[in-house]
């Protein structure tokens, strides 16, 4: 009967015994995702309008990110678009003359986690002995920051749809942990290069 109980206990703790991988092995670069409208001929576009600010999405209302860091990211987008043969229209009064509009959005997010009571924990079960999990007799909180940069190209030459909406012909987002400071800015700039790098179809004739 003791052997049977031992086997039953072992079976019960098994689901909590998954060994987590070494997350420190992952690099700090942002994951860059892109998608596009395959019916669109990007070679037909000639000019683009790029605002000098990045829309920053907040929980209640949006604001605009305009400092030198924002300009550095925008500058990287400008360099990529110019490099693909498009001409930037800088005058906001003439933005309607552009073939496409490039809009950038930034979404910072802080995730707060409060745990209490039973908790699987991150340490491997059995490290300290024959225990099957962890619990906190008091609330424990921690937080981590993530950020996402969204790049979109909207077709300003498209016929206005019945509901007055513009088609987004290219979408890119770069997301990952927010490390702050100059290092995080470098990651955002690298992500812009990567987004264009994996989108070779964005090219003027």
């Amino acid at each position: 009967m003791k052997k049977l109980l031992l086997l039953a206990c072992a079976a019960l703790v098994m689901p909590s015994c998954e060994k987590d991988p070494d997350m420190g092995e992952l690099d700090a670069n942002l994951a860059v995702y892109t998608d596009y409208d395959s019916d669109v001929d990007f070679g037909a576009y000639t000019t683009y309008f790029l605002p000098d600010s990045i829309l920053e999405a907040g929980s209640h209302h949006a604001s605009y990110w305009k400092d030198e860091n924002a300009l550095a990211v925008i500058g990287r987008v400008e360099a990529q678009m110019d490099g693909r043969g498009y001409v930037r229209i800088a005058d906001p009064e003439k933005k309607n003359e552009a073939s496409v509009g490039v809009q950038l959005s930034y979404i910072p997010q802080t995730t707060n986690v409060v745990v209490g009571g039973y908790f699987d924990g991150w340490w491997n079960c059995g490290f300290w002995g024959p225990w099957s999990g962890w619990y906190y007799p008091y609330p424990v909180s921690y937080s981590y920051d993530t950020n996402t940069l969204v790049l979109e190209i909207v077709d300003l030459t498209a016929a206005e749809s019945a509901d007055g909406k513009l088609p987004v012909v290219w979408y890119a987002n770069a997301s990952g942990f927010d490390f702050g400071g100059r290092y995080n800015l470098q990651l955002l700039e690298d992500a812009v290069d990567q987004a264009f790098g994996q989108s070779p179809y964005i090219k003027a004739n």
Binding site: D20, E25, L26, A31
Partner: protein, 209 residues
Amino acid sequence: MDMKAIFKKAVLACMMLAGACAQGFAQWRADRMSLKADWQMNAPLLTDFADKISGWGMNYELTYLISPRWEAGVFAAFHTNHRYVERQTLNLSPTEALTTDQQRSAFQVPFGVTGAFNLSVNKYCRPYVGVKAGAMFARNTTYYASRGLYDKGWGFYVSPEVGLKVYPTGKHWGIHLAGYYSYATNRTQTLTVGIDGQSNAGFRLGVIF
């Protein structure tokens, strides 16, 4: 055949089965029962997911020696394998691309019944061949950037094995060594690959008591 005849046959069959069980219980001997607790090394085969060999797993078996050569019982095991995939651009569809590195994790929990045939009834050393069959739970997770994607599923599990039971004192406790292959019918979808059937190979080292 009418319902009454079927009912009579069913009752008769139940009585015969009960009789056989009663006879079995009457012959029940606790010293024929043994528990194996094994550490195991496992490598998933041909999944192209998390196929790096690892030692993050255990196997438990509770068996009964039906005769000097035949053993049967139940088992449960668990194992985790990982694989780091360097940063690369993945084509998720004809228009979608994703550039990231990945940390992949494959977690498997098979359990069910086990049977073994002892090739020798030597007091100190018993090589055997056996087979396990049952169900398997599998969860395959891909971690990338600040995200994680997983899919989980159930499947049928079968695993032939060869092994050796060594009893240094000729008594009930001993050392267990086994090599195995396993196949489960689990289907899971991961970030880049669909897994249809999971094969594994590995070995176990443990104690018998």
